[in-house]
């Protein structure tokens, strides 16, 4: 990955207000996702994390404010342009959202068949590569109903990566996974970022994941209904003055200073300590 490309803003959210009718979920959100970041949207249950994701991936129209991809405003673009912006993204839904009547290979090849001109043989080879990347080599002809929840999530990831998008969205990637599988998924996300140069935006409240892989984050407060903290969560936990943010990031203080990550870069070492103390409490 060319270093010069990293760090330029790829998604910019300006004064975003999200509402269902007159019920405001979150207001005045401002943050920037930089190319090559692993950006985490965090916050307590019901604070609007997934709703924010739906605004970013074009499923829900903002009540006010803008979402920019590069310099293009997603919601001001014509529908056709919006589609072409969104084609640069891939989404892993919470439970995979695989098409249950298609095999894994058919699931992954659908976007390739739709948006590329590759012959069927090469599509099949690329599909096999994607499945191998998520550790599902040989599962091409399985139906989603025949595999486990973790495998469905990985297959969903393979489908999200089908067109090698610049930006990958993850909705609660490690929810419902065991600690080992969830750690491996974190490693996979890191590798996708490092080796393929993808930008990752994920919704999660898994503290081990947040401390292990996030470079940047936004914290949505479900009482104040706005973002109360933006930045690297490893810094945030030390510097924040907001009670809610600190409680969230320290599990109401049960993660002590020792267990918290020591430095911003030692992601591998920090991954294990919060998880072990989280498991113990």
């Amino acid at each position: 990955m060319a270093q010069s490309a990293r760090g330029e803003p790829i998604i910019t959210v300006e004064q975003l207000t999200m509402a269902f009718g007159s019920f405001v979920v979150q207001k005045d959100l401002n943050f920037t996702v930089k190319r090559g970041d692993i950006f985490v949207i965090m916050g307590g249950s019901g604070c609007g994390k997934s709703t924010l994701l739906r605004h970013l991936i074009g499923l829900q129209t903002p009540a006010a404010g803008k979402v920019y991809y590069g310099r293009e405003s997603l919601w001001d673009a014509k529908p056709a342009d919006r589609l072409s912006i969104l084609r640069r993204t891939g989404v892993l839904y919470q439970s995979g959202a695989l098409f249950t009547s298609m095999t894994l290979a058919e699931n992954v090849s659908l976007p390739l068949q739709t948006y590329t001109t590759l012959p069927p043989g090469q599509i099949r080879e690329i599909v096999s590569t994607k499945l191998a990347l998520v550790g599902l080599a040989g599962y091409e002809d399985f139906f989603p109903s025949a595999i486990s929840g973790g495998m469905m999530k990985r297959a969903g990831l393979a489908r999200a990566m089908a067109l090698d998008p610049e930006i990958l969205y993850f909705d609660e990637p490690s929810a419902g996974l065991d600690p080992i599988t969830s750690k491996r998924l974190d490693d996979l996300i890191l590798q996708l970022r490092d080796d393929l140069g993808a930008t990752i935006v994920m919704v999660t409240h898994e503290l081990p994941s947040i401390f292990a892989i996030a470079d940047n984050s936004v914290f949505l407060d479900n009482v104040k209904r706005t973002a109360t903290a933006v930045g690297d969560p490893k810094e945030m936990v030390r510097t924040t003055n907001d009670e809610m943010v600190r409680e969230f990031l320290t599990r109401e203080g049960t993660l002590n200073e020792v267990a918290l990550p020591a430095a911003a870069t030692s992601s591998a070492a920090s991954a294990s300590s919060p998880s072990s103390s989280a498991g113990a409490s």
Binding site: T100, Q122, G197
Partner: protein, 408 residues
């Protein structure tokens, strides 16, 4: 598009081209992916990769590279040159995996030094987990004997499931009748009664009225030839009460309510809701099937009566308006023509049809697979099965309890 650049080999000016957010509608003016084969020495094959290797462009086939490897038996080592390589993504990875897999099979050394940064990690990742053994289901051609055999086995299994379901439903019914607690929510029963009763009235009204009008109109033409117009009341009365009323409402309900039952229970199966009921100690047969069966068994006879009323009214309208029969004459003739016993048989028949529709719908729902397509299949099967059962059941009723003496 995940454009990547090889940092080592490419000058910075180039990296800026691909790093900018490239609009997908105008593909970057990059050279198409290509590969050139060279032999720096007799034992080495050099693959020079150039151009943009992304899934959105055209890609060289792996089979060419494999052919190139096979063409030179002296080659012991495969190396790569990626100085001319532009953007790349998993398309390149796929190509390399194909080459590496083949080269490994031939015991060749693979020199990854020339590959772009990050690629080595991806190759390791993709080959870290070996393909699961025996997982790839073979889609071989099946012989005619196999096809028939499998169909026979499926049929036997299906019959077994049907019998088991009927048995369980009967036991559930028995629990209800013997006063042992058959557990379902009474509010559910009322909901199903409403859905299968009041909510079905508009469609039943429309269709029975039309049916009565049509039959009377078509019959009138025939009866007029004999000057026997008054018998239009017999025609409408008997056909509605003995046959059309019951069968038509049953078929409407099969399409309306039976299909809904299959879809509801099938979706619950997909969502593991049925498993949840079981683990709560609630028998799905009692909780889901029984109230639906009861609702249809209770409502179908009422719908039958209602359909008769509307159908006969439709016939009366034609009789009065087209044939010039007075309403009194029509009603008197109707009462004389249709004995009460026909209604009794009709009511029994409707109740049985209700049972058949509910059983088909619920059975297909309970035996539904765990996918969206399976729910669709279950719904289709429920309607088809219910209609077949209705027609067959109607035949049996016709033989066992004919509305008028048959033969001499």
């Amino acid at each position: 598009m995940l454009s990547l650049l090889r940092r080592l080999a490419l000058p910075n000016s180039c990296s800026e081209v691909t790093s900018a957010l490239v609009d997908d509608n105008s593909p970057a003016p990059e050279i198409a992916a290509g590969v050139q084969y060279a032999h720096p020495d007799a034992a080495t094959l050099l693959l020079a990769l150039g151009g943009a290797w992304t899934v959105r462009g055209k890609l060289p086939a792996v089979s060419d590279a494999i052919r190139e490897i096979d063409a030179a038996p002296a080659v012991r080592r495969v190396t790569f040159d990626t100085r001319a390589l532009g953007a790349w993504d998993t398309a390149l990875l796929t190509f390399l995996l194909g080459v590496i897999r083949h080269a490994k099979g031939k015991q060749l050394t693979i020199d990854r030094d020339g590959l772009p940064q990050g690629m080595s990690g991806l190759i390791d990742l993709a080959t870290a987990v070996p393909p699961v053994e025996g997982a790839a289901e073979k889609r071989s051609r099946r012989s005619l004997v196999t096809i028939f055999g499998e169909a026979a086995i499926d049929f036997a299994a299906g019959t077994g499931r049907l019998m088991a379901f009927i048995g369980e439903a009967a036991m559930s019914f028995g629990r209800l009748l013997t006063g042992r607690p058959a557990r379902f929510r009474h509010s559910d029963l009322w909901l199903f009664i409403e859905q299968a009763g009041v909510d079905a009235l508009p469609i039943v009204s429309l269709l029975s009225l039309l049916q009565g009008l049509t039959m009377a109109f078509l019959g009138a033409a025939q009866l007029q030839m004999f000057g026997a117009q008054i018998y239009v009341a017999n025609l409408i009365g008997m056909s509605m009460a003995a046959e059309v009323g019951a069968v038509m409402t049953a078929i409407i309900m099969a399409g309306r309510t039976g299909a809904a039952y299959a879809a509801q229970i099938g979706t619950m199966q997909v969502n593991q809701e049925i498993d949840a009921l079981r683990t709560m100690g609630l028998e799905p047969m009692d909780f889901l099937v029984l109230p639906r069966m009861l609702a249809l068994i209770l409502m179908m006879p009422l719908l039958y009566l209602y359909a008769n009323l509307l159908g006969m009214f439709g016939g009366g309208v034609i009789a009065v308006l087209v044939l010039g029969i007075t309403p009194e004459q029509f009603v008197n003739q109707l009462f004389a023509a249709v004995p009460l016993s026909v209604f009794v048989t009709g009511l029994c028949k409707s109740a049985v049809f209700g049972l058949l529709v509910a059983l088909s719908g619920c059975m297909q729902g309970v035996n539904c697979g765990r996918s969206a397509a399976a729910v669709g299949d279950a719904t289709t099967s429920a309607v088809v099965m219910a209609i077949v059962a209705i027609i067959v059941g109607d035949g049996i009723f016709g033989v066992l309890a004919p509305p008028f003496p048959v033969g001499q």
